[in-house]
Subunit: 239 residues, 2 copies
Amino acid sequence: MPRLEPYKKTLDYSYCLGVFPSLKLLEYRPSAAMRLLLHSEGMDSEGVGRLRERCAALGVREETADKILRRESRKDNCFAALVFGKYEAALDPQRPHVVLHHISDSGNLGTIIRACLGFGIRDIAIIRPCVDAFEPHTLRASMGAFFAVNARMYASFEDYRRAYPEHTLFPFMLDGAIPLDEAVRGRPPLYALVFGNEASGLPPEFARMGQSVFIPQGEEIDSLNLAVAVSVGVYAFTR
Amino acid sequence: MPRLEPYKKTLDYSYCLGVFPSLKLLEYRPSAAMRLLLHSEGMDSEGVGRLRERCAALGVREETADKILRRESRKDNCFAALVFGKYEAALDPQRPHVVLHHISDSGNLGTIIRACLGFGIRDIAIIRPCVDAFEPHTLRASMGAFFAVNARMYASFEDYRRAYPEHTLFPFMLDGAIPLDEAVRGRPPLYALVFGNEASGLPPEFARMGQSVFIPQGEEIDSLNLAVAVSVGVYAFTR
C-alpha cells in the first residue's frame, strides 16, 4: 500500500474527514472508498463502530492512523476518515442545475452543496478557476452532501454550456434585469442558476445570457455572502 | 494613552479590522471610534485616505501600528483598523426582530447580521451563552453591517422577552408545526424570528411559544447551515 501523502489538488485521492461525512460517502459512493483511517482513541464510539461494519462488508480495509488524521484535519479529535478515489460525476441533463463560476472559498462551496441538496438541487457545475471541490475542508463543510450530489468541475463556462445547451440560464447579478420573485414566476422546468465569484460576481457578459436576476437587498450592504445568495435563490426556485 | 491589549471578551473596547468595515463604523457609530490604527505599507491606498480624512474630521487620532494590526488580524495585509468602545444598542420595539439563541460561531454571526441588514431586519437579539458579538472576526464577517444594525446580547431568552413582550414569536425548528410559506402568509406586522444553536437547534420548550416553523428540506441532509436557515427565513418573511 503506498504511503498517504498530505492532501493536495494533484493527488488522485482525497480524505473524507469525520464519521458522519464518511457514512455519507459509503452510502452514495461506496465504490470510491479505498481505506478507512481510525484514531486509536475513538474506537469505542458508536459511529466509528458503524463505519467499521460497513467498511468490512464492502471489503474496505481499515488501519490505525492517528498521525495522518491529525495532519489532515488539523485537529486532535478527528476519529475517522475515509481515503477515497476522486471520481467524475455526470450532471443529469433532465434536472435543474446550479452553476458556480470561479468560486474561491472552500467553506462557501461546502455550505452551498449542503443547501442545494437540502432544497432538492442535485446537479452542480463548478467552473474553473475555482476552489478544489475535493479538498477535505469542502467535503467537511458540506457535511458529506458532496457525495449525494453530482458536482463536476469544468475548464470553462463554454464547456459546461456545450454539454447542457437546453437549460434556461438565470445569471444572478447585482444589476440583474428582474427581481428573484419575477424570475421564479416565469421559470421553465429546466433551468440553471448561475452565480459568480465571492468578490467580483459574474463578468458583465453574463447579463446577455438567458434571464439575469437580482435578489432585492438594501443599499446598506455591498452584497450578500455567496452561500446566502445561492441558498436564497435555490430556495425560491425550488419551492 | 493605554497600551492596546490583544482582543479578549472582557475588554471594554474592540478592533474593527479593515478599511471597509471601519468606514461603516464611522458612518453608523462615529462616537464609538477611539483610535485609527494604520499600517506603514498601506498609506497610499484610496480607502485609507478616506478613513484618515473622516477620522481627522471627527477628532479621532491616528497612529502607525503595524504590529498590532498583524496581531489582531493574523494577516500581513490588514492596512487599517479602528479601536472602538463597546456600546449597548437598543432594539426598536416597533420593528421585527431576529433572535439568535446560543449561537456559537463568529463567522455565522457576522454572515447573519449582513444578510439581516440586506433584507431589512435591523434589530437582532443574541441570547447568551453565545459567541462574543464584538469579536473582531464577527465584525469582519459582517463586513461592517454590525454597526448599522442594533445587535444586543441578553443573559437569557426571558430577559429579551420581558423587554419586548409584544412580538409574535416564530421559533424555527426542524420539527416545527407549519412550513415557512404558511408562516409567512399569516405573519403579523410585529414578529420575532427565533433560531437556535448550530449543533443543537432550539430547546424543545420553544415549540410551545408562538408559532413554530420549519423550512422544508430533503431528508438527505441533517439540517441547513445556520446562516443559510436564518437568511432563507428572513428573506421569506421580508419579501
